[in-house]
């Protein structure tokens, strides 16, 4: 029996806990009633949305307790998404990366989930919630297009109207996913304001939600945004970590020494990390997009290089200039090209529960090629950042150690980008 798709939350008292206990027991505790993870999170939203947000919180709390809702999610996860996804030991990759002295490397194969990425876990969960709330018009934002495709898929499955906001720049670099969404019956709206990428698509989706709040459900794609989204998205994605933990125990025994995931907004990362937060012997590493390098602004390393602020409804780390304007980020992978990050990840950084590193475009491409060549697996460029980190920075753990890397998506969508980066004309 695979782990269930919604985590259990206990209602323990957290005030009496020490700092260390709070760091490691956070699983059951956070966010608090106001949507805060430590000082990160909250609800910084226009007044028009506040009642809709309260309604969403209520509906979610109710749904989470309903065994029928739980059963429907579990049924679709098994028979439609194809869960559990495998935990696969990449031996040839590990041998080549570690030169024979590195750790064992296991890949959590979210790339094998229906639609080719972890995004479907959340999109399906929220679409079911929308349907339960009687909201038949769905909006979503997308960067790489994976969340857009997942949402369009869930809407096709459940018979919901779907509108996806996507930056003009992303529409060009992810044209294949735009085509997929349209085939699935979604309307893709090109966003031409600001930097014309993911953050602007989110702005536009929020504006739509403000305007059509009565009949519209906003399926938000990552663990950022205003409360309750960081919690809801994390909960729906946390099946990744629960499965990985059980699979690792079965295949190897015990716990891995390190878990690694790429971080854009942070949904695949929180999905993998969440169940491991209380396991203090497991080192948690998030890998951000280093773009052209961390010296200038051509990167999207929000936790590594950013500072605190408010973007898209939550207090978190963001990339901003001296005047508090949001910076236009860069990454070879559209899915990591975001100047914000989920508040729970900010909290994990500040509490010391996780560390964060950056991998450049070039390093990500090396990781991408290495996995293709050694394992016959073509990873998404987003996931390639985590892959590259595992290849470059884990050798010190030694051959007795094990590392679990979240392979959050498949790379078919990135063929044009990779070809261009490698100077190949298709």
């Amino acid at each position: 029996m695979p782990p269930s798709c919604i985590p259990e939350h206990s209602a323990q008292e957290q005030l009496t806990l020490s700092h260390e206990q709070r760091v490691y027991q956070a699983t059951a505790e956070l966010p608090n009633a106001n949507g805060y993870f430590g000082r990160f999170g909250g609800q910084f939203a226009p007044e028009t949305l506040m009642p809709a947000i309260s309604e969403l919180i209520e509906a979610y709390q109710e749904a989470r307790k309903d065994p029928a809702f739980q059963a429907e999610i579990d049924r679709l996860a098994t028979y439609y998404v194809g869960r559990p996804t495998p935990l696969y030991e990449a031996t040839r990759f590990a041998t080549e990366a570690g030169g024979g002295n590195g750790p064992r490397i296991f890949l959590k194969r979210e790339d094998l989930a229906h639609t080719g990425a972890h995004k479907i876990n959340n999109a399906l969960g929220q679409a079911l919630l929308a349907k339960r709330m009687g909201k038949n018009r769905i909006i979503a934002e997308t960067g790489a297009g994976q969340h857009g495709v997942a949402t369009a898929t869930a809407c096709a499955l459940l018979g919901l109207k779907c509108i996806v906001y996507m930056g003009e720049v992303d529409i060009h670099r992810q044209s294949l996913n735009v085509f997929r969404m349209r085939l699935l019956g979604a309307e893709v709206v090109s966003v031409t304001s600001g930097s014309k990428t993911l953050k602007d698509a989110i702005n536009e989706a929020i504006r739509d939600w403000v305007t059509n709040v009565d009949d519209t459900f906003y399926i938000f794609g990552t663990v950022a945004g205003m409360h309750p989204y960081p919690m809801i998205v994390r909960d729906f994605q946390s099946v990744i970590g629960r499965e990985a933990k059980a699979q690792f125990a079965e295949q190897v025994g015990g716990l891995p020494d390190m878990i690694v995931a790429c971080v854009g907004g942070g949904s695949n990362a929180m999905g993998l990390f969440y169940d491991f937060i209380p396991e203090k012997d497991v080192e948690i590493v998030g890998v951000e997009a280093g773009g052209h390098g961390l010296e200038g602004t051509k990167h999207a390393a929000t936790l590594v290089k950013g500072d605190e602020g408010v973007l898209h409804g939550s207090w978190s780390y963001i990339l901003q200039d001296d005047n508090g304007q949001i910076i236009e980020t860069h990454s070879i992978s559209a899915g990591l090209d975001y100047p914000g990050v989920g508040p729970e990840l900010s909290w994990m950084k500040d509490s010391g529960r996780a560390t964060f590193a950056a991998i450049t475009d070039e390093e990500a491409l090396e990781g991408f090629k290495l996995l293709c060549r050694t394992e016959g697996i073509i990873p998404a460029l987003e996931s390639s950042h985590a892959i590259a980190y595992a290849a470059k920075h884990t050798r010190h753990l030694g051959p007795d150690a094990s590392v679990v890397v979240n392979l959050s998506g498949r790379g078919d969508k990135d063929m044009h980008t990779v070809a261009e980066a490698l100077g190949v004309e298709l």
Partner: protein, 270 residues
């Protein structure tokens, strides 16, 4: 702090009320089309008889604004207008002897980066009378509110047709100066028609507060201003003014601003 008639905003509403008039409150983005030109436009708005002016602080991610205001914000950012420039703009207008209340309307992140205490202190010193932060709910506004109280300035909260009883009472209790009643579900932007249920909604808000009520979002015609005048204390005009400014070349914008205010006041035809 529910009534603040001692503030310039409170005084203005009290005076207009005794005269049986409605405050016309135009919004203009600082730095649109240029910083120098925006100063002239704001001066022209005052000259035309606008009772208060809302000065928009440009931001890269204005989630509560429709296309008209967004575009002005982008132009202002492109020509380098930042929060300190907006405060300086107010300082210069005050130095010219303009006495109408000024409100700074800007998103939260630039304020955080500038520092909340410093923001209120510097703005107050420059001559700002009140603050509107569209992405800051009353629940999250404690620090800013304390600073405003300290400096005798107003912090204005927004309410919307969707606001629940609980949220209306929080805004009424914690806000000062006036309540900004968003007329519709949606973002800023000019609209053809005001909502039919506006009166009912304003009556509902009124039952929670003695604060003056100003209605914004969608006001574009003298009929709208009159309609607002029958039920509320102020009419806020943003996108419609920007549309009027966009219809003329830059050098004619101050004159167009003046003409549009006179048109809204029923003193001139468009």
């Amino acid at each position: 702090m529910s009534t603040t008639t001692q503030s310039r905003i409170g005084e203005t509403f009290a005076r207009l009320k005794s005269e049986g008039r409605t405050a016309l409150m135009p919004y203009h983005t600082a730095g649109f089309p240029t910083l120098a030109m925006s100063k002239e436009i704001i001066r022209a708005l005052g000259d035309a008889g606008a009772e208060m002016v809302e000065i928009g602080v440009p931001f890269s991610d204005p989630i509560a604004d429709g296309p008209s205001v967004q575009a002005t914000s982008q132009i202002a950012l492109d020509n380098g207008t930042r929060l300190p420039d907006c405060i300086q703009l107010v300082r210069e207008l005050r130095a010219e002897g303009i006495t109408a209340p000024f409100l700074l309307m800007g998103y939260y992140n630039p304020i955080l980066k500038y520092g909340i205490e410093r923001y209120v202190a510097d703005s107050a010193e420059a001559g700002v009378d009140g603050f509107i932060v569209p992405d800051l709910s009353a629940e999250e506004a404690d620090t800013l509110r304390q600073e405003c109280i300290k400096h005798g300035r107003d912090l204005i909260f927004m309410v919307a047709p969707t606001s629940t009883e609980r949220r209306l009472s929080i805004a009424a209790e914690r806000g000062s100066g006036f309540l900004y009643c968003v007329s519709v579900k949606g973002v800023t932007g000019a609209r053809e028609k005001m909502s039919d249920s506006l009166g009912e909604y304003i009556e509902r808000v009124r039952s929670y507060t003695d604060l003056p009520l100003a209605i914004g979002f969608g006001i574009s015609k003298p009929e709208h201003v009159n309609q607002v005048g029958e039920i509320a204390d102020g009419a806020i005009v943003g996108a419609a003014l920007i549309n009027a400014l966009n219809a003329v070349p830059d050098e004619e914008k101050p004159a167009a601003a003046q003409a549009f205010i006179r048109y809204l006041k029923g003193e001139a035809l468009m």
